[in-house]
């Protein structure tokens, strides 16, 4: 299969004929089938398709949280499959940001602490952490909610905090799995605008969505069906 390519010559991620098979009691299920693609720096890619078509599995592989059953994944030219788990964790910590449909903010921490946490894990100095956390909360428009816990925030605010957390260690790639799935349309629109801004500021963004309106905002849309990229399109 011809790789779905972007414009850059040096991709952040390159998937080569990746397949992911899950062993199930009723027999193996192929979630991703022979997918090849490249994500270039500062690119905005949407992966769109119906539920169960393999979008999230592909996103997890691109984000180095899962390993393909066959094929290879290169992240900044390093073969992810050959890396030990600790190195993959470190790569995710420093290079990749994740935004989840269910936010997964830690309920016992404030918005500030949730954003600061990945930086502490990356051993960023305290002063730098403080200024970066303040900067990020202002960036997502939640400076005034910094010391609120997730239970005191709305769904949209929680997702904003989750985006700030994902950007904490200045990743080169931001991955979002149905980031508007738990939000109403208006709030989802605001979150989508935030992703637009992140991409404009230089971070590559890959969004998995089944919402065509959200997908249409991306520079490139990959349409998936039955584990394969059925077609590729561009915005406009």
């Amino acid at each position: 299969m011809r790789p779905a390519t972007g414009v850059g010559a040096f991709p952040i991620v390159e998937a080569r004929e990746i397949t992911r098979v899950f062993p199930m009691p009723a027999g193996p299920v192929t979630a991703v089938h022979g997918v090849s693609l490249r994500i270039n720096p500062a690119e905005y890619v949407a992966i769109w398709g119906p539920s169960g078509c393999g979008k999230s599995t592909l996103l997890h592989i691109l984000g180095c949280v899962d390993i393909p059953s066959s094929g290879s994944l290169l992240f900044e030219n390093r073969d992810v499959g050959a890396l030990p788990d600790a190195d993959r964790s470190d790569m995710r910590l420093r290079k990749i940001g994740f935004v989840f449909q269910r936010f997964f903010l830690l309920p016992m921490l404030t918005a500030w602490e949730n954003v600061e946490l990945p930086q502490a894990e990356a051993r960023i100095a305290r002063d730098e952490r403080r200024s970066r956390t303040a900067e990020l909360l202002a960036y997502v428009g939640l400076a005034h909610r910094a010391h609120h816990r997730p239970s005191q925030l709305s769904g949209g605010e929680m997702q904003r905090v989750a985006i700030a957390r994902a950007l904490a260690n200045r990743p080169v790639l931001l991955l979002a799995d149905e980031p508007t799935g738990e939000l109403d349309r208006a709030t989802g629109e605001q979150i989508a605008e935030l992703f637009d801004r992140v991409q404009r500021d230089g971070t590559a963004v890959v969004i998995v969505t089944h919402d065509q309106a959200i997908a249409s905002r991306a520079g490139r849309t990959l349409v998936m069906r039955d584990g394969r990229i059925e077609r590729e399109g561009t915005a406009g």
Binding site: D85, A86, S89, R92, F100, L109, P118
Partner: protein, 402 residues
């Protein structure tokens, strides 16, 4: 945020569960700590009790316990021979028997002892003046313990009638004694009534004729000379009187440890093991439940780049916090429980009131801390394994579907 602070915040998130865990460990830890104190407590207490008397060697006619075996005959010669040994500083002969003490129509059966002590005394004078075999004032004199003084309302200067029952079938006329003082006897049982006189007055009360009974002792209490020590003194005794049974305090404690005290050691080992097992189960269950409830959160943190080791260490820290806090609370609880249990056990017949079953010793604390460390680690193994093996991708998918 440090791993410790992170774990602490995680625990505080479920305060009820955290309190349950800490309370459970406090209860089991208190029992564990008590069992550790019990395992060596009697030995330590017996050592302290023997040492407090001031004599480090005991000599009897045979290996049998005093009163259950024959007395040492030719006591005066024996005392003179042993006292002349360079390694020995003092020899105090003791006779043991029973008597009936009467005053004003009230009567009590008492443990009656006779002793000739010069410098050291195997009792502590609390009130009045001490008895002294070098002063023969004509009237027999007596020291009584506090129990007897209380029961018969005796004070120094009181006069009592004492009928000795020092040998089988003895039938002697009563002797009038003047109570010179009130003393504490270290090996008295909680409710024991005790009186002591000089050997001369003891023989008089028991009706011993000088030819047979007066020149005998049931026990010789010996103090070795500080420079020589008890082992050298016992060797010296065995060389001049191989027919006598001489034991140091150390040997006596070792004998108790092997026979009488071994039951307590075994009981404490079994109970400590069961207690630790329950504590371990409790923490394992709490950590496992907590981990299973947070699988989505853990998978998300792993996706964000938190390593397996980091997430496993979080579980270990939670275990450490629960067990550590519970273990700290358990110490004062255990000490209070030990005090209460000690008070109960000291009323058992045949147990010296000054003997403690639960004695705090640094060794018990060290073993306690080591066992808590084992509990922390072992209790965390299963949930740590769950966290380390968590499949990130499928867990995130399941959480979204769920």
């Amino acid at each position: 945020m440090s791993p410790l602070a992170f774990a602490l915040r995680g625990l505080v998130r479920q305060p009820g569960r955290a309190i349950l865990g800490i309370a459970g460990i406090a209860a089991t830890g208190a029992l564990l700590f008590d069992m550790l104190m019990l395992s060596q407590g009697l030995v330590v207490s017996m050592e302290q009790l023997l040492a407090s008397v001031g004599f480090d060697i005991r000599v009897t006619a045979t290996q049998a316990t005093p009163l259950t075996g024959p007395p040492i005959v030719g006591m005066a010669d024996t005392v003179a021979t042993l006292a002349a040994l360079p390694a020995i500083e003092e020899v105090v002969p003791l006779r043991l028997g029973e008597a009936q003490v009467d005053i004003g129509g009230r009567s009590r059966e008492v443990t009656f002892m006779g002793a000739d002590a010069a410098v050291r005394r195997p009792w502590t004078l609390l009130e009045g003046r001490d008895i002294d075999q070098r002063q023969d004032t004509g009237q027999p004199r007596l020291l009584v313990n506090q129990n007897l003084a209380r029961r018969l309302e005796l004070a120094p200067g009181a006069t009592v009638t004492l009928r000795g029952a020092c040998t089988a079938n003895s039938s002697v006329p009563p002797t009038v004694f003047r109570v010179d003082g009130i003393a504490e006897f270290p090996f008295d049982q909680a409710s024991q009534l005790t009186a002591i006189a000089t050997l001369r007055d003891f023989a008089r009360a028991c009706g011993d004729a000088p030819a047979d009974g007066a020149d005998q002792a049931d026990l010789l209490m010996i103090a070795s000379r500080p420079g020589d020590g008890p082992t050298a003194a016992v060797e010296a005794i065995r060389s001049v009187r191989p027919d006598l049974a001489a034991v140091t305090n150390e040997e006596l404690v070792a004998r108790f440890q092997q026979v009488e005290f071994s039951y307590f050691r075994q009981i404490s080992f079994v109970l400590a093991t069961i207690t630790m097992f329950f504590g371990l189960l409790l923490i394992t269950v709490l950590l496992s439940v907590s981990t299973n409830q947070r699988l989505g959160e853990i998978a998300a943190l792993r996706a964000l780049g938190f390593s397996r080791r980091r997430m496993a260490s979080d579980v270990l820290w939670r275990s450490a916090l629960l067990v550590g806090a519970g273990g700290a609370v358990a110490l004062p609880l255990g000490l209070a429980l030990a005090t209460w249990l000690d008070a109960l056990l000291q009323t058992m017949p045949g147990i010296p009131a000054n003997l403690r079953f639960f004695v705090f010793a640094p060794r018990a604390l060290i073993v306690y801390v080591a066992l808590l460390a084992v509990t922390i680690t072992v209790a965390a193994i299963y949930p740590m394994r769950t966290v380390a093996r968590l499949p990130i991708s499928s867990t995130l998918r399941t959480e979204v579907i769920g």
